[in-house]
Amino acid sequence: MNLDELRDALGAHDPSPNAVLAELGRKRRRGRQRMAAASGGLAVVVVIAVVVGAIAARMSTGTPTAASYSASGAGGAASVPAASPAERGSGVAGPNGADRTAPLPGSSVRQGSPQLGPQGAQGSCAAVPLQAAIASAVRGGASVIVATGALTGKSASGNPATAGAPAFYAMTLSSVRTLRGPAIASGSTAWIPGAAAGTASSVSSALLAPGGQLFAIVSPRAVTHDLVGPTLRLAPIVGGDVVFTPSGCWDLTGLQPSQYQAATPLRPVPSGALVNAASQPAESGLYTLPLATVEQIVAKA
């Protein structure tokens, strides 16, 4: 074999330049189509992810309705809202069911229902009357107590999105009388959800009576995803009356409450200006029911 024969053989299969260019054009078009299809598919995936994320965020932070309240209550106490205290309104629903309190910008902290975790809903309280709320809480594993509480000084930081509040404050319970649900022993520690220290205003925080006597719904530990122990949704007791505060998000629809008239100052948790009858805002009043009446409601729940 000589070089000419080799070169002749090597050149025996030259493709047509036009055929190559045509094939190249086809492949480039197919590539663009695949790219467009992939982009379209990616866009669809992104849209779906955004929609699912928005729904999930709404479910975790959204305002509970009476229906969702009942449903979550029946299922236990695992659901925790993600709303931050600053996003929430406050108030005690008065006897006619209307929310008597205007939202307090950037200041409201509520103790939540067992079903919704220690914090209330974003923007407004769930319109669930007291008796129904207690019944739902008990079904969810909560206890209803009358006790004397004292802050221990311990606190824990929480993630509002997972634990329901930015902070929790430890309280030792004594002289406990369990009205409903699993018995709570004297000496137990429970946690009050609230705003981070220094950020809460007085009236929108949990309020404590001078002697520490309180009525409370004690939610199981799981409500905060085990961040801390059982949590309290409390109402102080002053002179034989249970004082329903804005932070409790209580709904006294159908009852005959009285506006808090006592001069006894109530101390916010963790700190803040004392609240009494004279200092309570006109539209965010504190309402009272006799403890005996409340106990009857609890018994019937």
Binding site: M1, N2, L3, E5, L6, R7, D8, A9, L10, G11, A12, H13, D14, P15, S16, P17, A19, V20, L21, E23, L24, R26, K27, R28, G31
Partner: protein, 174 residues
């Protein structure tokens, strides 16, 4: 021979490059593939890769050399895939030494050369094409194949043995 001349003319567009080099590209691809249709497919694949990276390739010192390497790489990849899909050709060198049925018949002679080329391993065939079709030196062949010049010389030596060619200076004789 071909593939040269653009050098640092990075301003040329992909289409201009293809127009200028298409003749040599088709010749090169045809020699490598040994089949015009396979060559069309392989060369279009290679040019597709080049087109996607043309901005960077056009800024190179020798874009033609890079394109040549892309063609060789595409050819070697295709051969690897083909070997997985098809029955491998015989590697029995003794088969290549069988006497040609009718040496006087030029057509048969050419067919025999083509047959011998077809049984060359891909790396050896690429080296043969670059050397004897494009007159490339060892260094540039090594660049295209991604190997050393020693390996290039080894490829060429083995290919010549298979093709029953004897190097004679720059030329080759039977």
């Amino acid at each position: 021979v071909g593939f040269r001349g653009l050098g640092k003319e990075g301003a040329v567009t992909f289409d201009e490059f293809v127009r200028a080099e298409m003749g040599m590209l088709t010749r090169f691809a045809g020699a490598l593939a040994g089949d015009r249709y396979l060559a069309e497919d392989m060369l279009s694949d290679a040019l597709l890769k080049v087109a996607r990276r043309w901005r960077r390739i056009s800024a190179m010192d020798d874009p033609a050399a890079y394109v040549r390497r892309v063609v060789v790489t595409t050819y070697l990849d295709d051969r690897r895939k083909a070997q997985r899909r098809r029955t491998a050709p015989s590697a029995d060198v003794a088969l290549l030494d069988r006497p040609v049925a009718d040496p006087a018949d030029a057509v048969v002679e050419r067919a025999e050369v083509i047959r011998l080329l077809a049984v060359l391993p891909p790396q050896q065939k690429a080296a043969v094409v670059l050397r004897y079709l494009l007159d490339e030196p060892d260094e540039r062949i090594a660049g295209a194949l991604g190997c050393s010049t020693g390996t290039v010389r080894s490829h060429l030596s083995r290919a010549r043995a298979t093709l029953r060619l004897v190097a004679d200076g720059e030329g080759v004789s039977a």
